[in-house]
Symmetry: C2
Subunit: 565 residues, 2 copies
């Protein structure tokens, strides 16, 4: 490829709305262009990388006996009604009618399509186990598209579905899929990937794992124990919270706390530790908009996802209190009028003594509240975010929390879809059975972006050899000198036989060529210039700065081969 012919402008200015490095470089390097919120066109370099990633994924899926198929993007609503997800999934599921007024959805995941295909083709136990996968466009009507290719609405995804005659067989295949995922991430050049337990969410099933690219730009929090290896997404992580030193029980005392509405102000005002207070966090149920009040120790935060597990319905943070009788800023568990309200107690409160909490009365708090003495709690739940003050619930050692970007997930779905959609097979004894199912997803575009997050410097991406759009970038610094130009083009012709090569054939300054080369990110750069040509040499520099040397023109091919091997 001659760079003069490459479509996609590169530029120096930081794009205004881009915060993640991958987003910045994908725009500045001419890799992607936005078409609508969360919807992008990929230019040639990004498509080349994407294809290399897809080929690696395909190879690893084939290694675990995957059969590549292709499901439709446009799916009839009936399939999603069969599984029950037509109604249970929120508005991320895009619904529409065709010209004949039939209901359709845009596929955001393909469990239904997979069962639809498999149930007519696998009616005997002899067909099991099997796995089918596709690499296909998906659409998820994401309300918070952001970060370039990190959180988008339309994306290319590899999704795989395995079918088994027993849970044991599913579990053993699940382990093979997990290993295949690890190989994929290693091969595409990700250096810091964690496999963690995750929430099963809208997919259902019992067991699920996420693969997290550890990154400061990540939206997910990962809880890790360096000692025993425990790891989990914050949304499902368990821990042993730091314990309170129990104080002597006092009588309840109402104190005036004018305009003291949050824990920080309260603990300063009354000179108590936050962990000696009880905080109220209020949500509302999506189904009937009634408040859900969660009481938790003042130094902890409520995890919304964990609350959802208790309420068994979707919730949202309540910000408008006007329709309730709640005294915003002064809500407490004593004498709370709980009519029409769900109240949840976090287990951090169990047995605490001499606490401070809201008095359910404007500008007043209570002191001296003891949980077992003063409150009637039927059950305590774990609805708290894990903190670095907690200890590992497995081994008791300290936990660490880090940020990550989810780059893949795998689920043991059990019979959720096969049962709902009446998929059966005849077993050895001629009896009808319901198979169990696993599913396995990787978003290709997000993976591409994460490779940048994990491999870049201040000037641009440092593409791993396995996925680089071009392996070699030749800069001809003096394109106006015929002889120098010829040397560059000869190298280009020669190296193009075995490698993906891009050549800078423009009459522009060295600085201009180099900053473009940094954005294009090829692992090996060959610089052809008048100065080095005098000695029959060119300069070879690797994008990761590990190599910078002068090489005789005749030795270039050998040396490049070494560097790229």
């Amino acid at each position: 490829m001659l760079i003069s012919q490459l479509l996609g402008e590169r530029y120096k200015e930081k794009p205004a709305d881009a915060f993640l490095d991958s987003h910045v470089f994908l725009l500045r390097g001419g890799y992607i262009r936005q078409v609508a919120s969360g919807i992008f066109s990929l230019l040639y370099p990004a498509k080349k990388i994407s294809k290399k990633i897809e080929d690696i994924i395909r190879e690893e899926m084939d290694r675990i006996e995957g059969q590549e198929v292709l499901f439709p993007v446009v799916l009839p609503a009936e399939l999603w009604q069969e599984s029950g997800r037509y109604d249970s999934v929120g508005s991320e599921l895009l619904k529409f009618k065709d010209r004949a007024n039939h209901d359709f959805v845009l596929g955001m995941t393909h469990e239904e399509a997979a069962v639809h295909l498999a149930r007519s083709e696998a009616k005997s136990y002899t067909k099991y186990p099997f796995m089918i996968y596709q690499i296909q466009t998906k659409f998820r009507d994401e309300p918070r598209a952001r970060g370039g290719l990190i959180r988008v609405r339309e994306f290319t995804m590899k999704d795989a579905y395995s079918f088994h005659t027993s849970q044991a067989d599913l579990e053993s295949y699940y382990q093979r899929a997990l290993k295949a995922y690890e190989r994929i991430y290693e091969r595409v050049g990700l250096k810091n990937v964690k496999v963690i337990k995750s929430d099963t969410g809208m997919m259902g099933g019992q067991t699920a794992h996420e693969f997290m690219c550890v990154s400061e730009g990540g939206e997910d929090s990962i809880v890790l124990c360096d000692h025993c290896g425990y790891s989990a997404n914050m949304e499902v992580a368990v821990s042993t919270p730091r314990k309170n030193v129990l104080k002597e029980q006092q009588e309840i005392d109402e104190v005036l706390t004018p305009d003291v509405k949050d824990i920080e102000t309260l603990s300063k005002f009354l000179n108590v530790e936050p962990m000696q207070t009880i905080k109220a966090t209020v949500f509302a149920r999506k189904d009937n908009n009634k408040p859900v009040v969660v009481f938790i120790r003042g130094d902890l935060e409520v995890n919304e996802n964990k609350v959802t597990k208790v309420t068994r319905t979707e919730i949202y943070p309540l910000t408008d209190y006007t329709e309730t009788d709640l005294n915003f800023g002064f809500i407490g568990p004593c004498q709370l009028d709980a009519a029409g309200i769900d109240v949840i107690f976090d287990r951090s409160l169990e047995g605490l003594t001499n606490m401070v909490c809201g008095a359910n009365k404007k500008d007043y708090h209570l002191k001296g509240v003891s949980v077992s003495r003063d409150l009637e709690v039927t059950e305590f739940f774990d609805v708290a975010n894990v903190t670095e003050n907690d200890s590992c619930s497995v081994c008791g050692k300290p936990l660490t929390i880090t940020k990550g970007i989810e780059i893949g997930n795998i689920f043991q779905l059990g019979d959720k879809y096969t049962k709902a959609m009446n998929m059966t097979y005849l077993d050895q004894n001629g009896r009808l059975q319901t198979p169990v199912m696993g599913c396995y997803g990787i978003g290709v575009g997000r993976l591409l972006a994460c490779i940048i997050e994990d491999n870049h410097d201040e000037y641009g991406p440092i593409w791993p050899k396995s996925v680089a759009p071009w392996q070699i970038h030749i800069c001809i610094l003096n394109n106006n000198v015929e002889e120098i130009k010829q040397t560059g083009f000869d190298l280009y012709e020669n190296l193009s036989k075995d490698f993906d090569v891009i050549l800078d054939d423009r009459n522009v300054s060295a600085g201009f060529q180099f900053s473009d080369a940094d954005l294009i990110g090829a692992p090996v750069r060959i610089i052809v210039s008048k100065r080095n040509a005098k000695n029959g040499e060119v300069e070879i520099v690797t994008r990761d700065q590990s190599t910078k040397e002068k090489v005789k023109v005749a030795d270039v091919e050998r040396r490049v081969r070494e560097l790229l091997s």
Copy 2:
């Protein structure tokens, strides 16, 4: 691949609703399954073939300097409003709203997306010419989905867009693209493809060509001159119609023709040749529903597409006459009350004498009508279907008409999209110019189906080597005999190193194995059996029946290599 693990049932029964051979074999061979009308899932064998076709297309696009990109499936309505097609394209364009109530369409073609991408990246003449292409899912809300993968609603398509600074440059690139298409069809194994002039339709522009797979199952009619090579789609074909022998002019005479409503009955009733009559064919305009009456010589048929070119608006055949004053069956050009009606005369009528036509009065026709004497015609148009009685308008020799399936099209779009969407570049003199554009499409699924139409026998597809899902099919006729089984598996292991091999590992009869092998259609079949094993031999048969021979086991690899080279 072991056939026991291949997902996709094969069966013998002819599917009830399948009329095309490709449709029949795609269903019977376990290649595709319908999900909704015109929407299919592809199983592993079809996906394998599709991928091989895509790779061939990609290679040929890269050979003409294509840069592969990826546009979104979901496109914002604004882009289609810019080009004007949001309103001009009919209900094949699927429109919907996202969760934020913004208007979107499902991409059925991507001219708008291509201009959207290119206009920000090609602002200088130095970037031109360039071509971008994608291989991506498209959706067209086709009212008459039929024929398996021949006419579908969702499909995978390669679409390419080239941009040029002059019409001459576009034309020269267009010729290169045409040659690339010819190479693609040859490489995928199509034997009978015609390049013909075609209508530009909803795409716009001046010049367009279609590639037609000649096939009895085709919906399109192709007009060919074997002498000079003239070829065109019936929708745009021109010809010299057979001439009438001019009769002596007579006086007009009204004759009673009770219940004589069509040309066949009329010509029998009055004992005149159909070409001595004037036929009326009635359409209505889609924009205002007013009738369009076309008069044409009685032996010819009106071409609706050609009429559209005259009316410059979409039309439909009028079947309900109750709202009009037209005398159905007795419409004629004399004394026709043409108020609020479009009247079109086909050029076949020019100068004709002594004709029979409707009298615009129930049960009456006129005799003795002479066109120049009795009718006031401002302009004659060519709105007739070409017939095999016509002669070539280029060389005068006879024409032939054949059926075909459109498997690709290329268009010189000119500045239709670039102008409407304000795409400009700076020329050598620093002046803003509008580039011109070409576009080039191939549907992958339809091509796959046409390969079957062109390569099959009564038992199944005969896949060309270049696209066969498996190149070699090993049948082990005695899987229950350990030694025979071992011979088969040894061959499988060995040949799998260099070839795509499928092995029948089931304990089923030879007939069962062979009929499955016919449906799977691998070019080379190796039959391992007890009988041949005695002599240390296997049987090698090619799917096209050209080879059937016994080969020593040690010679199999060499022989297979020859057959597949």
